[in-house]
């Protein structure tokens, strides 16, 4: 099993969700996060006080999939989240040691 952690543009969340649904992936966890990579922030001015805002709002999508489907899921996430501009985000892949369904104690891929 692998965990896919994708940091994406907030306005691409719906596209990513729809694309994943289309290939039959319907479990995921979404978090509102802030961060930046190479993307520069912007300037905000409140009554003459200037603030450089570097950490920009992003969405973090986390989902766990079987090794067999990994490439397909990665491709779907990356393509649906892409605008082609700086700030599109990144995807990280982790090994997952175990998955447990709390309701009935299912283990491994059966718990996904």
């Amino acid at each position: 099993m692998k965990k896919i952690e994708a940091i994406i543009q907030p306005h691409k969340l719906e596209d990513v969700k729809e694309a994943l649904k289309a290939i039959g992936v319907d479990g995921m966890t979404i978090t509102e996060v802030r961060g930046h990579g190479r993307q520069k922030g912007h300037k905000e001015i409140y009554r003459g006080m200037e603030y450089q805002v570097d950490l920009l709002p992003k969405m973090k999508v986390e989902l766990v999939t079987t090794d067999a489907r990994l490439d397909e899921v990665i491709k779907t996430v990356v393509e649906s989240a892409r605008t082609g501009k700086i700030g599109d985000g990144k995807v990280f892949i982790y090994d997952v040691a175990e998955a447990i369904r709390i309701r009935n104690d299912d283990r491994g891929e059966a718990a996904l």
Binding site: E44, I45, Y46, R47, G48, M49, Y51
Partner: protein
Amino acid sequence: MLRRLVLLLPLVCLGTLALAQSAAPSMDTRVANLEAAVKSAQSAGDNAWMLTSAALVLMMTGPGLALFYGGLVRRKNVLGTMMQSFILMAVITVVWAIVGYSLAFGEGSPVLGDLRYLFLNGVGAAPNADYGATVPHQTYMIYQLMFAIITPALISGAFAERMKFSAMLLFTVLWAFLVYFPLAHMVWGKGGLLNAFLGGKIPCFDFAGGTVVHISSGVSALVCALYMGKRKGFGVEPMKPHSVVLSVIGACLLWVGWFGFNAGSAVAASALATSAFVATHFATAAAALGWMFAEWMHNGKPSVLGAISGAVAGLVAITPASGFVKPFPALLIGLLAGVFCFFMVTAVKGKFGYDDSLDAFGVHGAGGTLGALMTGVFATSAVNDGLKDASGKVLGLGLVDGNPGQVLNQAIGVLISWGMAIVGTLIILKICDVVVGLRVTPDQELEGLDISLHGEEGYNFES
């Protein structure tokens, strides 16, 4: 049923006739009755407007100012900041009932009222002819209370995010006694030093509180900001407003509530009230545009916070002038105020580096001073014919009426207000510092006032 009515009719007619004959009123009685009815009708109209105005002015403090200031602070201090406005609605009310109204509006010396209205003794249904001949004295008392509430609440913008709650309570009560009551008495009280209409030695025009409310609070705010020092991390950490949305709602409530503040200061539902209403609205509109365009040119973007700050600056500046100036001078005063206050909170504050957290001085002190001086220029008897000489002839008011000396009178009024605010506030800060200490601890300041002082959070996302 119908038959019974027909039978009754002649009886009723007869009865009415008999009654009319037995109590035929003389012409004098009828005229007297008519006069009483007219008086009562006018009183009803005026009283309805004044009670509405009193409610509008209270709405300026809570929720108006509470939201306006609450949105400008950081998330961790939103409740502490709103509380500083809200609790004054309670604190000042009690002080006012016991002795405050008497000290402000009792006839006393030129600088302070006496104790004739202690515990509101004698303040009842009968009008006080000097203050409002057509409304119950009690109406005037409760209307003026709302001004006494918002004034110290305005100062809280300067010490936001770092003052102890106990110190804030002590400070505002002492401030009411040492600065507000004397100043209100001088400007509006009978025999007050600056009261142009009730026998003041230095006739100063302040229709709704440019000196009493805005200069006093704004200048005191500057003194507080300088005395208390900056917020921890000022200029290093970001201190962005946590919700300009709340501030927009607050500013709009202030704009609406201000109609009670200014138009209500006519103390009647009169043409003068309408004139003050119009002047208030026009100045506010022009000031919002003035600040917005100044900022747009200076920073490249017209910010929402700038537009609403401009509106408040316009409301402040037109306050002393509202019952004295025509609509177009009001537009001009507003425009000047918008640009001037923008300059004050950006260039001037930046240059001197004081931390007037929410710009109480830059908006109220600066806007109030500009408005008080402009009142001396544009006040005209065409709008307000209340100033008369011994023979009853209406006197000219400001520079536009050919009375340039009034600008000087206004300047003296401004100086006295500045002086009282500076000296009074310094003394009170010193007392509070010694008695309870002014600032929260550095740890409390980092944690935020909401949790450290009040044991609550403004936004509980987990519940």
